[in-house]
Symmetry: C2
Subunit: 363 residues, 2 copies
């Protein structure tokens, strides 16, 4: 218990309560021994009871690429759907070095102390750190990882962004059904993942540092305009003035941005994740936003748009997947691309040829 | 000739020179009478000769949705490809009211007077104005429309963005083969079209007005971060100070943006489209950018990426098209979407069901 980074043990202890009829087999410790297979209904009732081990195992099924795992995972998700949707979902992004983990730890403790149940998920398609271990994330968020009302789950293993994002989105459903009322979805701010995160959260938070130079090098263009709130970290000690200056620069910049679809005017705040300063104000802002968008109807509108978005994203993903993994297509794709780059055929003719090849070899 | 907005007559006069062996049949006047059909080779040699009537007719084929027109259009494009690619392509965006037409007229005249040949194209998928008439665009750009070295062509008729954008991109190929060394691609700045434009131009210019309030209402988020140059219009008379202030605000804001992939630092300039002030400086900026990116290799890199982008866009478009126009899919799509919105099935299950329906009914 003194070693929260010893995740397996910790996890076993954390979850084993109130669900005596549900064997709490730890999937990590007993990886190689045959494990009792729950039915979908057993999974669902465990999740609805708030059993974290069962939740974890269900998430593992969601993340699995095995066909049989996917089948049961989809059944579980479907049965959890009516119990999902009631949390506040917050996307949190910032480049490495912005103090994301410390901040999430501080935000999370603020919420836990106010009686909330928090799940911290992540989307990081390029990540290798998550393969088979959640040690990294546990130690990154020291206080949170000790809390029984916090569920920390790293990004699904590397894969296509669409696949990783879908898994995270489905994990949200399971966490909500398990009673988590706040969901953080963390991402690194340097890739395409932000659009995906933006499409599954209610509020999008961008962590920045004072200074306008190197700190921004890593952030991808377009992310600033997605933010509902920009928060400047490390506003403590000698750095307070610099942080305030940065905040006022960002405020001026946001002023020039077109208004957001929600009608909400993005706020810029300073805080210190390390010293826990200004955290309450950040959460007041999130709550203000939720109240504001629930009142003007944008909250539900966006949730519906997101559900549709993910349905059509999944369709498009599957179509692309079927196309690009077709052996005949795979064979012809590169030579055709080369012809386009050499100006021998137009992009459109190239596309048409590839589609014809696909349709001729579809079954 | 005194009435440049009388487009048919004007057009006939404008083009009828130096290509005596090529009948200059006007497609608008003789719409209902059988017209001599050129072969693809005749089209190509007319285009390479710089015959504007032939070019116009070829563009009409590109824009047509008739199968036989598309077949010949693609042959023409393919034969023009080796002669294309040598122009500078500039995307120009700005909300209605920013003075886009007046500005393009002024920029265009600056280039024409410097001996350039300019084609002005547009992407505006929602537009109805272009259906069967180019009158609108001709009168919008009064000086340019009188110039024989300017070719103004409105947006292809309303259709899917992908389709409209592809047609504009293919029109660029034909215009370049016809000897136009500068291409403007205009768009309205309020929709998705900017991403498409951004993917077919070398330089992306955003027209803004002084003031940070209502003028920005229409601009879509994300566009500012795409711009290689922001230019503040109506910097004349009493408005000069306000425009300069706006420029310095934008400069500060851009300073907070992450650096662009090209390494170019976007510039902010003021000008007056109406009085023709500051136009040379804008074109110096564009030329600086071209020189800069040709030197660091980004120019060619981006052109290659764009060619690939359009090939894969076309593939994805076709796949989606085949899917969404499948009668069985069309029948089931709405009820399935409703189930997703009612939380009855997950987005992923919905997608999977639709894909299965598609694959079962593909031929």
């Amino acid at each position: 218990m003194e070693h929260p980074e010893n995740d397996d043990k910790y996890k076993g202890l954390k979850v084993n309560k109130g669900v005596n009829d549900m064997p709490t087999v730890n999937p990590y410790l007993k990886k190689r021994t045959p494990r009792k297979r729950y039915t979908a209904d057993e999974f669902v009732s465990g999740i609805l009871d708030g059993n974290i081990t069962i939740l974890s195992q269900a998430v593992t099924l969601v993340e699995s690429s095995l066909h049989e795992h996917q089948a049961i995972a989809q059944e579980i998700i479907e049965k959890c759907l009516p119990h999902a949707g009631k949390s506040i979902r917050v996307g949190i992004t910032g480049v490495p070095g912005a103090g994301k983990s410390t901040s999430i730890d501080a935000f999370g403790m603020h919420l836990i102390n106010a009686g909330h149940k928090l799940a911290v998920l992540a989307i990081d398609p390029s990540s290798e750190r998550s393969k088979g271990s959640i040690l990294g994330d546990k130690t990154r968020m020291e206080s949170l990882s000790r809390e029984k009302n916090a569920f920390i789950r790293p990004s699904p293993s590397a894969g296509s962004l669409g696949g990783v994002a879908r898994k995270t989105r489905e994990t949200i459903v399971l966490c909500e059904a398990a009673g988590f009322d706040t969901i953080f979805v963390e991402t690194v701010g340097v890739g395409q993942s932000e659009t995906a995160v933006h499409s599954m959260v209610d509020f999008f938070l961008l962590i920045q540092l004072a200074g306008t130079g190197d700190e921004l090098q890593g952030i991808k263009r377009g992310i600033m305009e997605m933010a509902d709130g920009i928060i400047i970290n490390k506003a403590d000690g000698d750095n307070i003035k610099k942080a305030e200056l940065a905040a006022s620069q960002f405020r001026n910049a946001l002023h020039l941005f077109p208004p957001s679809e929600s009608g909400w005017i993005p706020k810029v705040l300073t805080y210190s994740g390390y010293y826990g300063l200004g955290i309450k104000e950040i959460w007041d802002m999130v709550n203000d936003y939720i109240a504001f968008t629930k009142k003007n109807g944008y909250f539900n509108y966006k949730r519906n748009e997101q559900a549709k978005y993910w349905m059509y994203e999944s369709i498009n993903d599957s179509l692309r997947d079927k196309f690009y993994h077709n052996p005949e297509v795979e064979k012809m794709l590169e030579p055709t691309e080369r012809q386009v780059l050499n100006n021998e055929i137009s992009s459109f003719v190239a596309a048409k040829r590839m589609i014809d090849i696909f349709l001729e070899n579809i079954h």
